[in-house]
Amino acid sequence: MSHTVGHEETHGGGTGEIKKVTIILSVLTIIELVLGFWMIGMESEGLRLAIKGAIIILMLAKAFYIVGYFMHLKHEIKNLIMTIVVPLALFIWFIIAFLSDGNSFRNLRNTYDPYFKEQSTIKVEKKEHGGSHGAAAGAHADTTQHETKEAVETKH
């Protein structure tokens, strides 16, 4: 276990680079936040979706900088990079299959479960204690649950 390992090949990992990456990460986060603020109260569903997509791309960029520079992967031997990055490709099908089946499950329920469909169209009255604390909120949550319970029972 000689300590020469990890010493010699630190080329490219200097403080300059750390500073650079810190700035990049901060800028990316600020852009994300700006996009987030922009989305507040936005009506257009299409634009919202586009912004969400942009935020996810920025998230992946941040992940790249953290893994590549902070975790130093960029400066490792190519084979090590491959053994880390290639298995991550499994996430692609993992995500696609899970989310599309989730979506399909919603369609199923909207088609065959009238109760489910109905619940998602009835507007509940805006609760008076939006920002306030207190036990009332918890109690209210409980009563909502009881109401739903009764609803389920009548359904059955």
Binding site: M1, S2, H3, T4, V5, G6, H7, E8, E9, G13, T15, I18, T29, L33, G36, K52, I55, I56, M59, A63, I66, V67, F70, M71, H72, I77, N79, L80, I84, P87, L88, I95, F98, L99, S100, D101, G102, R106, K117, Q119, T121, I122, K123, V124, K126, H129, G130, G131, S132, H133, G134, A136, A137, G138, A139, H140, D142, T144, Q145, T148
Partner: protein
């Protein structure tokens, strides 16, 4: 592994040394993090699946809009969580600096930056504790969700269920990261690494800490932004 200098020459995979020129501990740490990435991945993908199979979902800006010591009914969406995010990014930077100092056998630098990292981690945990307490006061907890969907319909409890489970699991990782960093700090102060002649342990602790930061990038996006 005394053959570092020949690392880039021919027989990388020929046996008798690490093909990656990395000691086994670091390799194991990387593969452990891969494994952990699948744990968090599974959580976040489950969250996505449930969200996709539900008609409405609460607007995060309506839920996460308060700030410590601010007056009642303050409307400051995204502000508090951006502070948490920056705390974690900065603590990640100090961790890199600690690792860097370790490479240069700079004990003082290691100690200084590790302390900053630990403080950053504790600050993050403090923020999270405040946010959880606040949400709990509003009536949010596992199995109870006081918030409405963005379109005004009743929301399922899975919004809060996932929020508390995933941020809780992340918080647990931050907590264990802080413990690891404290152990590293003590070992540094006891000159363990000076005796050993290298600070490779700090590097492994650093990998773990950055991973925690990495997960937060995803949690932050999934719960607070989109």
């Amino acid at each position: 592994m005394a053959t570092t200098t020949t690392a880039t020459t021919t027989k990388l995979w020929g046996g008798g040394k690490s093909p990656f020129n990395v000691e086994y501990g670091k390799l194991m740490m990387w593969y452990f993090l891969m494994s952990d990435a699948f744990t968090f991945g599974a959580f976040l993908i489950s969250y996505g699946t449930i969200r996709f199979s539900t008609n409405g979902w609460p607007d995060p800006n309506e839920v996460f809009k308060s700030f410590p010591f601010a007056p009642e009914g303050v409307n400051a969406p995204l502000v508090f969580v951006s502070i948490m995010t920056f705390i974690l990014i900065i603590s990640s930077v100090t961790m890199v600096l600690a690792v860097h100092a370790g490479h240069n056998m700079d004990k003082k630098g290691v100690v200084k930056n590790l302390i900053w990292t630990i403080i950053g981690g504790l600050a993050f945990l403090g923020c999270q504790a405040w946010e959880w307490t606040h949400l709990h006061h509003e009536g949010a907890w596992w199995g109870s969700n006081p918030f409405l969907n963005a379109d005004g319909t009743a929301s399922s409890t899975n919004f809060t269920n996932y929020f508390f489970t995933i941020t809780g699991f992340h918080g647990f990782h931050v907590f264990s990261g802080v413990i690891i960093n404290i152990v590293m700090l003590i070992m540094t102060l006891m000159d363990k690494f000076e005796q050993r002649g290298h600070y490779l342990m700090i590097e492994k602790a650093g990998l773990y800490w950055h991973f925690v930061d990495l997960v937060w990038v995803f949690v932050f996006t999934c719960f607070y932004l989109v």
